[in-house]
């Protein structure tokens, strides 16, 4: 089993989610994040004082899936999330040793 982690532009969340649904992905977990990278941040000015904000708002998505689906899922996310502009984000895959569905205690694939 694998965990696909994706960092995306917030307004792309819906598109990615819809695409994953079509692949039959059962669920996902999202957190609001701040990204630092090539995409520049911005300056804020309050009462004459300037503040630099290097981070830009991002959405961090975690999808737990069977090994078999990894490529399909990664490609789907990349495809749905891409705008071609700097800051589109990253996707990475992490090995998962086991997973449980809290409600039922089911393990492995059944947990998804």
């Amino acid at each position: 089993m694998k965990l696909v982690v994706a960092v995306l532009k917030p307004f792309k969340l819906d598109d990615v989610k819809e695409r994953l649904k079509t692949l039959g992905v059962a669920g996902m977990t999202i957190t609001e994040a701040q990204g630092f990278g090539r995409q520049r941040g911005h300056t804020e000015v309050y009462r004459g004082a300037e503040y630099e904000v290097d981070f830009v708002p991002k959405i961090r998505m975690e999808v737990l899936i069977d090994d078999a689906e990894v490529d399909a899922v990664v490609d789907a996310i990349v495809d749905a999330a891409s705008t071609g502009k700097i800051g589109d984000g990253k996707v990475w895959v992490i090995p998962v040793e086991s997973a449980v569905r809290v409600r039922t205690g089911e393990r492995g694939a059944d947990a998804l």
Partner: protein, 466 residues
């Protein structure tokens, strides 16, 4: 008492009670704009547009104040310019523009075509300030249609132009003793001059400026309903000054106007809420729905607050709120409404509510409601003034006058807005912020956001103070 009379520290024509009421009423109307409308709208827009909304409200208000004292007041309430033969439309079209900055202009007894029955009990400063508060809120109302894309610089140019060429002229015609006033049309506290005109202007301007980013329209969630409550509460109670100030004296009709304003508003709020509970898709009472209803009631009773009895106020509350509820839920699917992105729906809650309220004068105005003149039990009649609607007089005369006036206000406000915006577009090289700017919002336009978080920010500039 003799003593108290002889050494009054103000002129004999001045009545401190009436002067006080008028200044307090003006202050209440001012509060309706700042912070009222500013935070009501600020709470209704998306997070990314809060600062822009607030600054447009504060700067728009300020621009009107200056226009008003420099030339606006006298265009609307000063001596008529008589651009045509006496009695003709053009003779009562507008006043002669000049400032009210000198001590003569400020401290002399107020005089205006707006009231020919009884001499004013306060100086020009009082009348000018009260009417300034009226003028200043109007652009803030139609701002609601333009939020989320209107170019800030364009706003700064459009507001003075609009006040000068639309507001002042409508005010002169209807309030300043102009053509429609002479015809017998009435507008107690601005259902036409303010709300109908603002609704039409906002709608037409929203069409010309074009819609918000589709992405914004699709996720146009309000950001803070508690802030909406702050603004809404101030609006409701501030309206006591709005409608209560209209008679210019703290008399009996002022009290009735205040009472009727609250009756109509309560009725309208409940009407919208019950409609939501009975007819909306989810059958649930919503807070923002109730606030819409509240505004319909406030706007709907504005043209007639002191002309109708409590019964009339209830009728107006039900009708204005009910009709606007239906319009709000069905018109957006129909052209032209489906084609125009009127961000906060000003055409509904101000335009349509103001129109209906103004027309209903022709139906439910109660001739027994004495606006001026000795009233009530020991009625004496002299110099008495009131308005009668069809239900009481059986005549459609008043309704007809109200209709003609509405037709003018709608047409003129729409046409003038188009022309003025074309001028502004030329002067400001466009009416919209660029799309990259719209995607970001406040941070792009003002380098400020409404709710900054310090965690990710690093101070770079050298101001040692803050």
């Amino acid at each position: 008492m003799i003593e108290a009379v002889t050494n009054i520290p103000y002129p004999s024509w001045l009545n401190s009670g009436d002067n006080t009421w008028q200044l307090v009423a003006a202050t209440l109307v001012g509060l309706m704009s700042l912070p009222g409308i500013a935070v009501l709208y600020g709470g209704l827009v998306q997070r990314k547009w809060v600062v822009n909304t607030l600054l447009m409200a504060f700067s728009g208000f300020s621009l009107v104040v200056l226009v008003w004292v420099l030339w606006g007041y006298n265009m609307a309430f000063g001596p008529q310019a008589h651009l045509g033969a006496t009695g003709s439309f053009w003779s009562g079209f507008v006043g002669h523009p000049h400032p009210i900055l000198s001590h003569f202009a400020q401290q002399g007894q107020a005089e205006s075509g707006t009231n020919t029955l009884v001499p004013f009990h306060f100086p020009t400063s009082t009348l000018a300030y009260f009417q300034m508060a009226f003028a200043a809120i109007t652009p803030l109302l139609f701002l609601g249609s333009l939020l989320g894309r209107f170019k800030f610089k364009a706003w700064l140019v459009f507001v003075p132009l609009w006040i000068t060429f639309v507001y002042c002229i409508n005010a002169a015609l209807i309030w300043g003793g102009g053509f429609f006033a002479q015809k017998g049309a009435v507008d107690f506290a601005g259902g036409y001059v303010i709300h109908l005109s603002a609704g039409v202007t906002g709608f037409v301007a929203a069409f010309i400026v074009g819609p918000r980013l589709n992405r914004d329209k699709m996720s146009a969630l309000p950001n803070n309903l508690m802030m909406v409550a702050v603004g809404a509460g101030i609006l409701w109670l501030g309206w006591n000054g709005f409608n209560g100030g209209a008679p210019y004296y703290a008399g009996a009709d002022t009290a009735s106007a205040v009472l009727n304003t609250n009756i109509a508003t309560a009725t309208a709020l409940l009407t919208w809420m019950f409609f939501d509970m009975l007819f909306s898709s989810t059958r649930k009472p919503t807070f923002l729905g109730a606030i819409n209803g509240m505004i319909c009631g406030l706007v709907g009773i504005t043209p007639s607050a002191g002309f109708v009895s409590g019964t009339g106020a209830i009728v107006i509350g039900v009708v204005c709120s009910g009709v606007v509820w239906v319009a709000w839920n069905y018109l957006p699917k129909i052209r032209p409404f489906s084609k125009v992105d009127d961000a906060l729906g000003v055409i509904y809650t101000h335009g349509i509510a103001g129109l209906i309220g103004g027309l209903m004068i022709g139906l439910v105005a109660d001739p027994g409601m004495t606006v001026y003149g000795v009233t009530g039990k020991d009625y004496a009649g002299e110099g008495s003034f009131s308005v009668g609607g069809w239900f009481y007089t059986g005549s459609f005369h008043q309704l007809w006058e109200q209709f003609l006036t509405a037709a003018w206000v709608i047409t003129y406000s729409a046409v003038a807005t188009v022309i003025l915006l074309l001028i502004v577009k030329f002067v400001c090289r466009g009416l919209r912020e660029k799309d990259e700017v719209l995607e970001v919002g406040d941070l792009a336009v003002h380098d400020e956001e409404a709710f900054p978080r310090e965690t990710f920010a690093e101070r770079v500039s050298s101001l040692s103070r803050s």
